[in-house]
């Protein structure tokens, strides 16, 4: 059975690993558009921006040769018709969304790839002030990394409390306070209405922000314009797309988190080999900001805050649906056990 993997990020790598670990000994070809072997992206917004150069490779450089995986970097696949396979995994990830008024400017950045991160790090090294448009996870982590190295950071978002998205409804102010204490300048509930020729940002309350560099971090779009599903690939729980023998995993399916990509890559490999799925786990998202690790187990979106901090708990219909830990990695196992238990038992 000939297996082709398009993409060389986390989901792609996990798929290849699970295929080999579960006994597939036929050919595997992996195509990556970037010049690098599969690497870990979470450090891009943290260690790399701190000026560190940690080993980012997901596996030692020899792994692909050792496991007979034909890794072709610098190779962008542009059509399904060009591929010969018995099973195909599409794991081409996502691309950052650019704000048209900021496109093409030399001091405007996005953060997705290692090359983006190295360019942004060089910018921070020679910069006194960065403006960050978009206060999602990337924006928050870059703001944290910038102020940690003495660069002024202005974090702008149209949403008044963007920190609720990570921390859960009503708890965002705990994270907001960390940003304020660290000296991040917040411009929340403010929309960008114009960009002057010199790059000055004009907000809807007539604030003008003139920064040396600008990061656009307003989300990503699945990099699937070359497939029949340009807006993201629909998949079932084991990664099957509507086309037989074609699977997809990771950000290409519209789920943009590390843990989900890892699990989806493994799940697709198992399904390709006809193996039963692994037991489901509640989703896990984590973020490192201002020296704190925040871990979110389950999905707090739209849920009701029961208690917190220490840890934050959320319920829906009488059951615990999410637990948020701040600097409490030892609490993760207990948090996982609490998910889907009735409120009374948890309290």
């Amino acid at each position: 059975m000939r297996i082709v993997i398009v993409g060389a990020g986390l989901a792609a790598q996990r798929c290849a690993e699970a295929l080999r670990a579960n006994g597939h000994d036929g050919p595997i070809t992996m195509y990556g558009a970037e010049p690098h072997a599969p690497y870990d992206r979470p450090p891009l917004s943290k260690a790399i921006l701190a000026g560190e150069r940690p080993e980012l490779s997901l596996r030692p450089p020899i792994w692909h040769a050792d496991h007979d995986v034909d890794l072709r970097t610098d190779t962008r696949v542009t059509s399904l018709d060009d591929l010969a396979f018995d099973r195909l995994l599409i794991a081409t990830g996502a691309n950052p969304v650019m704000i048209p008024a900021l496109a093409g400017r030399e001091n405007v950045h996005v953060l997705r790839t290692l090359d983006d991160a190295l360019r942004l790090e060089t910018a921070l090294a020679g910069s006194g002030h960065i403006a960050i448009v978009g206060a999602g996870l990337i924006g928050q982590e870059v703001a944290s990394s910038a102020v940690a190295r003495g660069v002024k950071a202005t974090l702008i978002d149209a949403v008044a409390n963007p920190f609720d998205a990570l921390m859960g409804p009503g708890s965002g102010h705990h994270l907001r306070a960390l940003h304020e204490q660290a000296g991040v300048e917040l411009r929340l509930g403010r929309r960008l209405i114009g960009v002057r020729d010199d790059g000055t940002l004009h907000l809807d309350d007539d604030t003008l922000i003139r920064a040396d560099h600008i990061l656009v971090a307003v989300g990503v779009r699945p990099a699937t314009e070359w497939t029949p599903w340009p807006k993201g690939i629909p998949v079932d729980a084991e990664g099957r797309t509507p086309i037989p023998n074609v699977f997809a995993a990771g950000d290409a399916t519209g789920v943009a988190h590390w843990e989900a990509a890892s699990r989806q890559g493994t799940a697709a490999a198992r399904a390709m080999l006809g193996l039963p799925p692994r037991a489901e786990q509640p989703p896990l998202v984590w973020s490192d900001q201002h020296g704190l690790r925040i871990q979110v187990i389950g999905n707090p979106r739209g849920a009701t805050n029961l208690k917190g901090p220490g840890p934050f708990m959320y319920e829906r219909d009488g059951r615990i649906v999410a637990v948020v830990l701040m600097n409490d990695p030892g609490g993760l196992r207990e948090a996982r056990r609490l998910i889907d238990t009735p409120i009374r038992e948890a309290a």
């Binding site: 996990r14 690993e17 843990e259 692994r278 996982r336």
Partner: protein, 69 residues
């Protein structure tokens, strides 16, 4: 206290932080981490704390009870 260790295969994401925290104790062999050698309590605690997935379970070797890292 002497600790023993177990990996929760369902939770493990093969991130590899345990291998960095306690080389020679943990290894990534298949699609999850495995315990491949003995480790000191400090090494085991460091690995359990480093694991982003909470997949490393520590037990008191005497009582068999699960302990926090």
């Amino acid at each position: 206290m002497t600790l023993t260790v177990q990996i929760d295969d369902g939770a493990c994401l093969a991130h590899g932080d345990c291998v960095h925290a306690a080389p020679g104790v943990f290894e990534l062999t298949g699609d999850v981490a495995e315990v491949v050698g003995p480790g000191t309590d400090d090494q085991l605690r460091a690995a359990a704390r480093a694991c982003p997935a909470g997949a490393i379970i520590l037990f008191d070797a005497q009582t068999g009870e699960e302990v926090d890292p």
